[in-house]
Symmetry: C2
Subunit: 303 residues, 2 copies
Amino acid sequence: MKRRAGLGLWCLAAAGTALAIGNSNREKPPTTAQVMESATESDWRQPDPANTLYMELAAGRVIIELAPRFAPQHVANIKQLVAEKFFDGLAVARVQDNFVAQWGDADKSRPTESALRKLPDENAAAFGKGTGFIKLPDPDGYARETGWLDGFPVGVERKPSGQVWIAHCYGVLGVGRDNWPDTGSGAELYVVIGQAPRQLDRNVVTLGRVLRGIELLSSLPRGTGALGFYEQPEQRAPIKSIRLASEVPEAERTALEVLRTDTPLFAKYVESRRNRRDDWYVVPADHVDVCNVSIPVREVPKK
Amino acid sequence: MKRRAGLGLWCLAAAGTALAIGNSNREKPPTTAQVMESATESDWRQPDPANTLYMELAAGRVIIELAPRFAPQHVANIKQLVAEKFFDGLAVARVQDNFVAQWGDADKSRPTESALRKLPDENAAAFGKGTGFIKLPDPDGYARETGWLDGFPVGVERKPSGQVWIAHCYGVLGVGRDNWPDTGSGAELYVVIGQAPRQLDRNVVTLGRVLRGIELLSSLPRGTGALGFYEQPEQRAPIKSIRLASEVPEAERTALEVLRTDTPLFAKYVESRRNRRDDWYVVPADHVDVCNVSIPVREVPKK
């Protein structure tokens, strides 16, 4: 880990001398709150309703943004399943602590054509010039490079594979599967609810992330069976429905905006996460993991 | 990220040729399950009951191992608070999604001498020769080195500070504090329930980890107030009591054993987490983050 020249003074300050020394003669970089206060309308984007899922649970709505670039055939099949109301009446059947919450047809009780569809391996997308990748300057242990693409946290390997994939960060959506070469149809889906299980990267199809309501999944009781599956069907959390936002009447939609990741403001935001400048912090890390950069989401008045 | 020479074959195999090629002429390394099957009694240790806390919630018992090496005065004060039954009748007052669950005297309603005690900054312990550090070979973005000490996941900086500290991994216990130079007395404590917030390392005193029952904290409803505090006192999860295991009658104790981190077996275990060899995995990561290595804990028959 590289440390800035200034950190010695910070450490000294932390050890007892005047805390102001470290930054006394330069302007203090903005805190995260200050960066966010300076955001303008153009720093936010509206997720495409045709790629946004509403999962309705008894406790409320979980909103998920799909990322078709990374797994187009899997995204298309999930939309097909949703159009067929496949998930309605199914349930969250697996909640494994510090790992994933998983829902869908755990019992394989609905062997529809869409649910049984065999799909190609879409564990990563092609990476090339003009892909629009925003690189995080910090090193990563699991990928050659990390950063953001289409608003999602990604890993990149330019050579030899030329691949980019959504990294398994908190809240990321993946496709449950059995042993490879099965890649899953989307009839079972999971989201990460713990320490980023990056060892899953490129072993599973990732194709979205939760924008709102992940706490409705992460606070469910943990399953006590193997892999966190509930042992009794009645312990499961029923899914009332999953719909595309575009299929829901406008009056019933949730108007969300997501902070763009391809702006100068986002670069400032990331820097404010790399080195926390709030008064609370004594030692700035001069580093951030891509999975430690939560991408802000806000609800806005309907237009 | 360094990749093994053999990985090209793995990738090729993943792309369609026979999966067996990659390892056809060498013995396959053991899976995690195989490593654990080969563990003997001496690979396990019994945590010291005098450094083990039982937090009794309505939903069950959370068991926490304290780490006196890292913050001796804070550990001593927490034991003093426990001896005074300070926490009994207080509550888990803050549950912030993907961050921490925090308990203790959120309202500062019990201004006892122990609760108000000013303690020195114990954010890290001294690191030197003979410290017994078990190094993880993989690089880390937040610390110069990571690994394990006394069975806890740690970060290390040999120079210039000569420090070792418990890294903010899932389940790690820290001491709530206000702005520095306050270091907290232990009257408010938290555990990590999300992506490892490593930016907190050396900004807060860390001094233990949950051995069992973290799901009783991580599955609590999230607080909807600022920082995940519950907005209504009745939303809090009451603490019946916190006791040292050594103060609990033997018949009421939970007999746990923790996998030792200073054994050849643990090195094999870590390798099995660096490169998953289960049939499910296609691409081994050849890397693991210290916070992705969960340290096994088991319950054993009482002796």
